[in-house]
């Protein structure tokens, strides 16, 4: 094993070096195997829904992405860039090429193309369903790389294992959840890894890769603004705490220039990359870092006395220029009503903004603030490992660990604003918990090793309640985490520290004593930590299997004899639509179902989940809240033929349109003042029983939901609202029912054609705000009341 060399130091050192390299190699192989296993784990824990139900795409947004990917695979990339979709937002249409983040669809399209060119016949749907688990495996590997840069490979492996299983990430990347975040989290962690790597090595090569990874992130998700604001914040932090170095300049400056250019290349972002306030922070810090770099450079050239003179001169001039520039900037920014920020970003900064000004953003359930239990559900054990990780990052504090601390602090704040952003918190929590766990294991196993009989150690054992980490002997170079990264297995780390202890029996002022816990306490603590990990794993698997694997398009429940009863009403309705209506028929429904309708039923819809046009959604909301005749007129003016309503009263499905009705009223009332919310409220509540207001009992949503409902059980008992309905027997005058699914969950109505013959004179409308119409009527009756 150790070949004897004729060096002056004798064979022991050579043997030590050889065994070290062998241990290095061994550790490397083990790390590789562990990483492969972590990847397999990340992939397979997300397959529960495929096993329990079928390989189907979940939720609402993924259907749109699936449809776009289908188009891309059929028509190629140039048509995709220039695609104008006329089957949604009728009659406005939507420019897909310019309003969609192309990263996810391009990735899946590429995978599909590559796989098919290798003659593996995977359909587009299969590729779409399994993209998310594959990229979550990549994300955990990226987390390994990132944490390895910050602390070392042991911490890296722990962080990767944690990220593979964390429920918050599983919830958005389960097999079938074909959404932007599936790819974006991988891009996020990878970009951060490359930034830290550039910071540590100072090489332009990694800076280029960093810019390219950032480009991929911009392509994938709107959350890229988080990166472009976090990195400048970190640079500022480094400058302010005196950690400026030329590596920081190399890490940051090319990223800003290349990154802005690349971001401007993506059509969704376009010129927003330089014009919106979300990016101004990066430019500001760009200028600041140039000033600081110049200051350092001049300081190196001049003598101290001259430097002071130069500084006063420059500062006075610079301050004047700075004030002028800032004044101009503030004037430009303040002139726009939203101060240059987009609506969603403003919601993050001021959580009450959306509920006051933009009800649509406030109505999305993902945009609500999370509750405390959801933190424990989503990141479980990590919630209290994170503070330990923060402390571990402080000893020693390096550029990279300060970055991770900043990342966790900002992501905790943002996750407190919106539930959806718990997803950004997940990687940070995993990284810090990985660091904490790895440091804890370091200390505990070192304690055990030193106190096992036969191992000589000068270390003193002290009673110590908390674990602490020994600083390496050359404290001056603690910033250089390159050295930590070069030591591969954790065992070697401990061996080096032990040698340090033996070399310096008297601890110097800059070195801490090697603290060791008593043997029994360490053993018990190791066992407890392993138990903690076991609880975490159990929770994650449970969450993945029970909580996050439901494709909301198919619902199940336990039937009386223990079997599984499947509610497949949505797909039933969509297939009815696609088989029994003309291709050009327009379907009106609430915006939740727009994507699914276009993707599965292949019919044109009025509004869909993109929610980019508030007025159009308000029109549909007004129609749903108006009496039958007005609603018919609104829909007729928009060429609508069918109206689709989701009703959960028969089976107890809580997310139906009656429960969403308050948003229809609010959004409609926001644009059209004749819809007043108090008209629908009785004692401040929306009610559908006998106590409901007449406006409520007459509105279209009520009538379409409860038409013939009393025939089911004779009393009209609504299982969701748990009351009997108010108006039980009524007829529809302007709509006719054409289809109701098996469990009455989706109900489709057709607009009755306008009457050919009008009895009597034309009547003036009874509604208060309507303008009086002229007495002349067309034979066809295509009056448009909105002109």
């Amino acid at each position: 094993m150790a070949s004897p060399e004729s060096t002056i130091n004798g064979p022991t050192k050579a043997a030590g070096a050889d065994s070290k390299s062998l241990r290095n190699a061994f550790g490397g192989v083990i790390a590789f195997i562990i990483l492969v296993l972590i990847g397999v784990l990340a992939f397979s824990i997300r397959l529960f829904s495929v096993i329990k139900y079928e390989s189907v795409i979940h939720e609402f947004d993924p259907y749109f992405n699936y449809r776009v990917t289908q188009f891309l695979s059929k028509n190629g990339i140039y048509d995709f860039w220039n695609w104008f979709d006329d089957r949604t937002w009728y009659p406005l249409g939507r420019v897909i090429g310019g309003t969609v983040y192309p990263g996810l669809t391009l990735t899946a399209g590429t995978i599909w193309k590559v796989v098919n060119s290798l003659n593996i016949p995977l359909s587009v749907e299969t590729v779409c369903v399994f993209t998310a688990p594959i990229f979550s495996a990549f994300a955990s590997w990226a987390a390994y790389l990132l944490t390895k840069e910050v602390k070392g490979p042991g911490a890296g492996l722990t962080a990767a294992a944690l990220l593979a299983m964390v429920p918050s990430y599983i919830s958005r990347s389960v097999a079938g959840s074909y959404d932007n975040e599936a790819v974006a989290i991988f891009a996020l962690v990878f970009t951060f890894y490359l930034y830290i790597k550039t910071l540590n090595t100072g090489s332009l090569f990694y800076a280029t890769l960093n810019a390219l990874a950032y480009f991929y992130m911009v392509c994938s998700w709107g959350g890229y603004t988080f990166i472009i604001n976090l990195i400048p914040m970190h640079v500022l932090l480094c400058i302010v705490t005196g950690r400026y170095s030329s590596r920081l300049y190399i890490a940051y400056a090319p990223l800003v220039v290349l990154g802005t250019l690349l971001a401007a290349l993506v059509p969704v972002v376009g010129f927003n990359a330089v014009l919106t306030s979300e990016h101004f922070a990066s430019f500001l810090v760009f200028i600041i870092i140039h000033v600081v770099a110049l200051a350092y450079y001049i300081k190196g050239i001049l003598s101290p006395k001259m430097f002071k003179v130069a500084v006063t001169l420059v500062v006075s001039v610079g301050l004047a220029v700075c004030c002028a520039v800032i004044a101009i900037l503030i004037a430009v920014v303040a002139s726009s009503p939203t101060k240059g920020w987009s609506g969603r970003s403003l919601t993050l900064l001021d959580p009450t903004y959306a509920s006051k000004y933009i009800p649509i953003i406030a109505s999305v359930s993902e945009h609500q603030p999370p509750t405390w239990p959801s933190y424990f559900m989503d990141i479980n054990v990590l919630a209290f490992l994170v503070p330990a990780g923060i402390i571990a990052c402080f000893m020693p504090l390096s550029d990279s660990s300060s970055f991770v601390i900043l990342y966790i602090v900002t992501s905790v704040y943002f996750s407190g604003v919106m539930v959806r952003l718990m997803l950004v918190l997940a990687p940070a929590a995993c990284i810090l918990s990985g660091i904490a766990l790895s440091e804890a294991f370091n200390v505990l196993t070192r304690s055990i090793k030193f106190q096992l009989p036969g191992i000589a150690g000068n270390s003193t054992s002290e009673e110590n309640g908390s674990s602490s980490v020994v600083a390496p002997s050359d404290v001056s170079k603690t910033e250089k985490t390159e050295e930590v990264a070069k030591e591969k297995p954790v065992k070697k780390n401990r061996k080096k520290e032990k040698e340090n202890v033996e070399k310096k029996p008297t601890p110097s002022k800059t070195e801490r004593r090697l603290l060791v816990l008593p043997l029994e306490a360490s053993v018990i603590a190791v066992l407890l930590l392993v138990l903690l990990g076991a609880f975490y794993v159990v929770h994650c698997v449970w969450a993945a299997a029970e909580a996050y694997s439901a494709p909301s398009i198919v619902l199940t429940s336990q039937s009386n004899d223990g079997g599984l009863h499947v509610f497949d009403d949505f797909r039933e309705a969509y297939s009815w639509l696609s088989h029994n209506t003309d291709v050009d028929d327009k379907v009106a429904s609430w915006w939740d179902y727009g994507y699914q309708t276009t993707a599965m039923a292949n019919r044109t819809v009025l509004v869909d989940n993109n929610t980019w046009n508030n007025t159009h959604i308000a029109t549909v909301g007004t129609a749903m809240s108006s009496p039958e005749k007005q609603a018919w007129e609104i829909f007729h003016s928009l060429d609508v033929k069918y109206v689709l309503v989701v009703f959960g009263g028969l089976v107890g499905y809580p997310s139906d349109d009656i429960n969403k009705f308050l948003w229809m009223v609010r959004i409609g009332g926001g644009e059209f003042p004749h819809i007043k919310e108090p008209d629908y409220l009785r004692d401040g509540q929306y009610r559908i029983d006998a106590q409901a207001t007449p406006t409520m009992l007459n509105c279209l949503m009520y009538k379409l939901s409860y038409f013939r409902f009393v025939e089911t059980d004779g009393k009209g008992f609504d299982r969701v609202r748990r009351t009997e309905i108010g108006k039980k027997h009524f007829k529809l005058t302007h709509f006719e029912e054409v289809f109701t699914t098996h469990h009455w969950m989706v109900r489709i109505y057709k607009l009755k054609p306008p009457r050919n013959r009008i009895r009597g004179k034309t009547k003036k409308s009874k509604s208060s705000v309507r303008r009086s119409v002229s007495s002349k009527r067309d034979v066809k009756g295509k009056r448009n009341p909105w002109h």
Partner: protein
């Protein structure tokens, strides 16, 4: 005010850097001039087409920044980059410039 000739004298002492470093200064000054010209042109003529203006301006800034990075890495007095061979630094610089100009040409329209 006697500070200025003193500065100039000191600068002259520093100017005979190893030849490559000295050229950097003029390289950077040249790019600075190019950038200022573009901004003045935009202020005079108006910012349509915006993407061409943006790509032109950012290309100037970008190459200047990359040149600064290269200079940082190549400078022998810089102790943090002792173990990076200047050829490696130059190769990185070329790569980064390649990517930058590819993007610029794409964005130029």
């Amino acid at each position: 005010i006697s500070f200025i000739p003193y500065l100039f004298k000191r600068f002259q002492n520093f100017l005979p850097f190893p030849g490559r470093i000295e050229r950097f200064t003029f390289y950077l000054l040249d790019y600075n001039l190019c950038f200022d010209k573009q901004v003045v042109y935009m202020a005079v003529v108006g910012s349509f087409p915006f993407n061409s203006f943006l790509s032109g301006v950012l290309s100037c800034i970008g190459t200047a920044v990359l040149a600064v990075c290269l200079r940082i890495q190549v400078n022998k007095d810089n102790k943090e980059f002792k173990d990076v061979a200047p050829e490696r630094a130059f190769a990185d610089f070329i790569l980064c410039n390649l990517v930058l100009h590819l993007v610029i040409m794409n964005f130029l329209g």
